[in-house]
């Protein structure tokens, strides 16, 4: 008797759970489950060097050595201003892990010269030209 009683309780709980789950799914359907992530692709523009030079002269003002690429970024406020302006203009920010490497303006220039590709390697391979006997089965 206890066995059958326990079974009936479990069945009731399952029925309640089944009823609750389709209701929640119906509630969620109109809104997006998660938004599409931002594309992180970045291509360096052709006038990158002149753009960077103008920003550096604007922010650092008079205290510039002869070669503008050797300006040390020791002043934290000026460094932040420069990096924030470049990020806003080019749409590509220096990640926190690379901040300690940016000691001179030349380092920043080198960082912004590197393009960033967005997709996975498999997607690139799928799009690229393959020999006729290589097939990649990938559905995303």
């Amino acid at each position: 008797r206890a066995f059958w009683g326990g079974r009936r309780r479990k069945e009731e709980r399952e029925m309640e759970a089944d009823r609750a789950v389709p209701e929640k799914e119906e509630m969620r359907e109109p809104s997006l489950i998660c938004p599409l992530p931002q594309s992180r692709s970045y291509l360096p523009p052709k006038d990158l060097q002149s753009c960077l030079e103008s920003h550096v002269r604007e922010i650092f003002g008079p205290s510039l050595p002869e070669d503008w690429q050797q300006t040390p970024l020791q002043e934290k406020r000026l460094k932040h201003r420069l990096l924030a302006r470049l990020a806003a203009e080019l749409g590509h920010a220096v990640p926190n892990s690379q901040l300690h490497r940016m000691c001179r303006a030349g380092d920043v220039l080198g960082f912004y010269r590197v393009p960033v590709k967005d997709g996975t390697k498999i997607n690139e391979l799928v799009a690229a030209e393959l020999p006729p006997n290589l097939k990649i089965i990938w559905q995303q």
Binding site: T120, K121, I122, L125, L130, P131, P132, N133, L134, K135, I136, I137, W138, Q140
Partner: protein
């Protein structure tokens, strides 16, 4: 005319698992070269997302044998060597061949080997390539 006995190679791996790193490097770097060197073998690369079975290289031969080799935690070069080894095999089972005959005296005048009836200087200096 030589007919390669290997029909197709299927590379099943996960794009995120740690032990499939060699498989991924193989696909990115060496798979195209391998496909060009062996134009009569079809290479199927099928990554399956999410946690799944271990990465495996499945070889199918013309006589129907399917041979699966685990490639978990193998480097890209090792996978290339394994693939070439499978491509040079036939699909026959790798079993000890037993023959229905046996002798206690297999040879009376000495068993032939490639250096019998050749000048004995070859055992010291080895073969010399003829300039053409």
């Amino acid at each position: 005319r030589y007919v390669r006995q290997l029909q197709r190679l299927q590379l099943l791996f996960s794009p995120t698992a740690a032990d499939a790193r060699g498989a991924r490097q193989f696909v990115e770097e060496a798979a195209q070269d391998f496909a060009r060197q062996h134009p009569d073998v079809v290479l199927y690369v099928s990554p399956h997302s999410g946690p799944g079975p271990a990465p495996v290289l499945r070889a199918e031969y013309l006589n129907g044998t399917v041979r699966e080799e685990l490639i978990a935690s193998k480097t890209s070069e090792e996978i290339v060597q394994l693939a070439t080894k499978l491509a040079n095999q036939s699909g026959l089972d790798i079993v000890r061949i037993r023959k229905p005959f046996h002798t206690d005296n297999p040879s009376v005048q000495g068993q032939w080997h490639p250096l019998t009836n050749k000048p004995s200087i070859l055992t010291i200096q080895g073969p010399r390539l003829q300039p053409q």
